[in-house]
Symmetry: D3
Amino acid sequence: MRPSGRQLDQMRSVSIETDVTKHAEGSCLIKMGDTHVLCTASLEERVPPFLRNKGLGWVTAEYGMLPRSTSSRMRREATAGKQGGRTVEIQRLIGRSLRAGVDRQAMGERQITVDCDVIQADGGTRCASITGGWVALRLAVNKLMKAGDIISDPLTDNVAAVSCGIYAGQPVLDLDYPEDSEAGTDGNFVATGSGRLIEVQMSAEGSTYSRDEMNKLMDLADKGLAELVAAQNAAVGA
Amino acid sequence: MRPSGRQLDQMRSVSIETDVTKHAEGSCLIKMGDTHVLCTASLEERVPPFLRNKGLGWVTAEYGMLPRSTSSRMRREATAGKQGGRTVEIQRLIGRSLRAGVDRQAMGERQITVDCDVIQADGGTRCASITGGWVALRLAVNKLMKAGDIISDPLTDNVAAVSCGIYAGQPVLDLDYPEDSEAGTDGNFVATGSGRLIEVQMSAEGSTYSRDEMNKLMDLADKGLAELVAAQNAAVGA
Amino acid sequence: MRPSGRQLDQMRSVSIETDVTKHAEGSCLIKMGDTHVLCTASLEERVPPFLRNKGLGWVTAEYGMLPRSTSSRMRREATAGKQGGRTVEIQRLIGRSLRAGVDRQAMGERQITVDCDVIQADGGTRCASITGGWVALRLAVNKLMKAGDIISDPLTDNVAAVSCGIYAGQPVLDLDYPEDSEAGTDGNFVATGSGRLIEVQMSAEGSTYSRDEMNKLMDLADKGLAELVAAQNAAVGA
Amino acid sequence: MRPSGRQLDQMRSVSIETDVTKHAEGSCLIKMGDTHVLCTASLEERVPPFLRNKGLGWVTAEYGMLPRSTSSRMRREATAGKQGGRTVEIQRLIGRSLRAGVDRQAMGERQITVDCDVIQADGGTRCASITGGWVALRLAVNKLMKAGDIISDPLTDNVAAVSCGIYAGQPVLDLDYPEDSEAGTDGNFVATGSGRLIEVQMSAEGSTYSRDEMNKLMDLADKGLAELVAAQNAAVGA
Amino acid sequence: MRPSGRQLDQMRSVSIETDVTKHAEGSCLIKMGDTHVLCTASLEERVPPFLRNKGLGWVTAEYGMLPRSTSSRMRREATAGKQGGRTVEIQRLIGRSLRAGVDRQAMGERQITVDCDVIQADGGTRCASITGGWVALRLAVNKLMKAGDIISDPLTDNVAAVSCGIYAGQPVLDLDYPEDSEAGTDGNFVATGSGRLIEVQMSAEGSTYSRDEMNKLMDLADKGLAELVAAQNAAVGA
Amino acid sequence: MRPSGRQLDQMRSVSIETDVTKHAEGSCLIKMGDTHVLCTASLEERVPPFLRNKGLGWVTAEYGMLPRSTSSRMRREATAGKQGGRTVEIQRLIGRSLRAGVDRQAMGERQITVDCDVIQADGGTRCASITGGWVALRLAVNKLMKAGDIISDPLTDNVAAVSCGIYAGQPVLDLDYPEDSEAGTDGNFVATGSGRLIEVQMSAEGSTYSRDEMNKLMDLADKGLAELVAAQNAAVGA
């Protein structure tokens, strides 16, 4: 029934290749099927002005899509002169999600910026960005700890994200683009490795959903998130 | 226990004054306690380019805060040269929420823009904007129907929104600013008059929450939303 | 002869409601007939860079119109990405006018920003902004003096403004929008409570006027300004 | 008493050189003492969208200052990313002033843009721009009439401008920069060749003025404007 | 003597992987040592306004660097609100270079946009973009020809680019970043497969060079360009 | 054969008038035939942040065209909200070229900004800007040396620029606009007074050129540059 032939509760194949660029403190290329996102974590030994001299670290994120990551070419945001509303919304979500797994006191007064750049899009780029972004963050923090710059691990748990939605009347896990563009209701679920929730965003566009449907999507998400956390741990050797 | 002395499941007093400006096709001033939002609905007999000649209407929203709606003055976005990320995120939510209650075919090829301008802020401005925005939209549509420009009512149901959160370890309904700024977990719940969900956004900033806590917040939201729908109906004389 | 039925030298009804928002140091809602402007005065204990360490205060103003304050919806300036030329011109006028009534040495090194946001427009918004802006400024300064932060009153006199123009061949006082959009010649007159002039701006668009006509408009303005100053004093309890 | 040694009612020497650039339909370099402004009039056989198919012409103006036209270098507005408030205010004034001397019906559906670029500034650049801008406009219209594109002269009269102010307690004509920067009260006076007023802008910054003082400045302006109109006529061979 | 241990006239290893993204009509990932650029060619069946109805095609290019393609993180241009001067200069060069190898009449009225996004930078990104961009363009054109949309091949020859410079007093071929940041004189050389020149840009920053030195660099470039053209042909199977 | 009737190797008449504005530390109006550029050098006793406390000076340039310097009016860049790509490219070239003739240590920690504003354009504006810009720079440095602020002359040599191109199949020197708009290949050549090269930019648009053709253009450039250096020296009295 699904365009890809997947089971209702079946994820796309997940691959996370680490250390893919020589400059970043942490990096990975995450592939959720045909969705490919390059995630890099960049360390700076300073925090934004509003945080100075508080002894707290900061994790923030930026998101972008290459112009031809999509089926028809999108206008480059640097040319348009600003980031679009969707971009801003997504990068705020990524930053907030990653911070939920960070002990900012243990991190010390430094900032890590996680850049998530979509190389190829086929649905679920914001979830892939969070899942891959955490891997890049983990690797950058590992480097800091190895160097002795941080003593106690500031990452309290994994952070991963998956989407679910109601496609052709059925709750399905990990929407690809053909499903996403048809689904009237879909949600993004961000959670920790131990299953605590960080962010639930369930939206209907031109439709509505019941609490029962919401629960079914959350059950699916639980399954998917467990698989993503396992993939993260395998990637970072945890 | 709550700063305002309210019960855990007690809303702030709600007031919706309609027809508050002479120019708009529909308008109201909604007050949720000390949060005051002016909502206007503006009709145009044309749709955005991507919708032309499809026989479908469009409802969109814009959101703004007056510079001194907050306890310290915020920079005016027109001076800053762009809308901030939070503004963009909120106005996209308002538009998406209102469209969930619209039969765009029945509406015909016209656009209604709902402007939500915060006169005074004390937490929950996006929820007040959705609840008040629907009233303005309802009044503008009533005018179109009265004039015979629309035959069949394009509004399929009320749309209202409320926030809940975990404050001092307890789930509470309708957060005001002192609660909102302390709550590690809070959510915005948008639903129809008949209780179908449109949007659930539950975020933790620097913390996490369990599915059980989420369910408790959703129960509170149900109670609040019913009261808001009643207030909407009283205001529009439905 | 006037669309509103007013006498040639008759002002619209004026109402000034004070302390209309809980956050601002001073505020009022001024209504000149159907023109409604919300004025707030915001205090900051610092001055712009060009004034630092000179012992002088600063008063500045910003102006905005809500998108549906006008008969057809205007584009929101924050969306357009900048303030339009008319907006910039008006807010510079408001700031300059208010400063003419301020002893900046007595004020001390602090800044007061007066925001004038048009809720509903029916002509004469810049004049209403000046007249109402002064009330907000007066209330904010009163608060500073009551708290003992300022000893000697830095406001040397009232500042008020009114428009006049030649409508259907006749000099008339306090133009409303139907008059303003027809008048070939109109002017804005800003003066102190004691009748000293601060700013005179008389423009013809596609027409011209004689010095004699100008004098007649200034006579009308004198009458209107006296009424506005009385309304200001009543509002602030002076 | 004046820094330049001029009499109170003495203008700076005025020179208007015409046809100074080979591309523009009309052009001049106007010098008011050390204030030098290059004015060009550019013709387009189309009008802005809001005027299409109304049979009316349009005259508009733009104003700029070369970065080192001033005693210390100003930031280039193209680099800053926008025109400043002062620039916008001035170019609106120039356009409005020139249009007051134009019969837009006789002009036909075409647009003339008058660019006023300050090569060297020593006070009074906006007045020089209006006076020189009219010369450029006159020359461009002459060319249209000579070519038979316009039959009846659309310029109804000269348009010229001069500044006056109260310097060291005395009303003086045609302020240069040292006077302008000291004067608490100054005004710009725009009028037609026959002495009809187009725009009066009298401002006090941190001071006030009486109606009597205003009248004295207007008397001075009358004298200066007559001289400027004579210089315009000499320049265009009228 | 070279930091990398290469001979003076030795290129970095070149690899060109084709068809690396599923959406673009043509694409490749070009690696010149540690410089990695993703090039995509996007086809549109329309041309920019200035070319409409002339029967000519258009090839244009855009260039970007991922924020962490460099050794310290660069600000994202979409966040900065505009493309920097260097970016604009580079993308104009890429477009101009590629067009030199295109018969725009044979191409027909369609546009191909070549996006060059730097994944990892180690010097020579503009040259890699041109060389890789031509491969993407070639593949997109092949697809058009295969589909019968274009009959006669519009690509008249290969287009490739290489940099040379004077490093530590010696002319060297294909500068990497450590060399580029030290070289006082360096140039970019763009040529066709048959050795005709398209663009020569030789700059000294804080130094100068003789015509003899220039000739030596051009000899080196000839050698490098031949190798790049061979690599292009191998990649596209020509 | 040339539209102007010039010999193939004949420059346009060159005139350099110095000290044309009273405010700038150095200035000239350079005329290359009908191309007129006003060049000013502005001194600041501070350097950009990236250079602070290094004991080195900085020379930078900005370039602009008056809206009606061209045969049809161009949009003012300040109105467009940004400098176009061509402008940015040109001003980077001017700055880089001038710096090649500067001993930044001898200059001391100060900045000179050279503004090149095109009053009238007829081809070759960037070359005229470099040649005239150097004269303005020379005059500003002379003033610093005369005042004893700089002891040892920081200008190591003249810097001048000329364009050449292949017009109607023939290499010609100093292209004017009618030639420039027809030439498929043209170049800009920047060199010192002693004939050392600073920048060579030879571009083909929709065509290619041989190394032999390039050499012929460089021979022409040598002749032209010698004449320009002589004109510079005459202008500054060297």
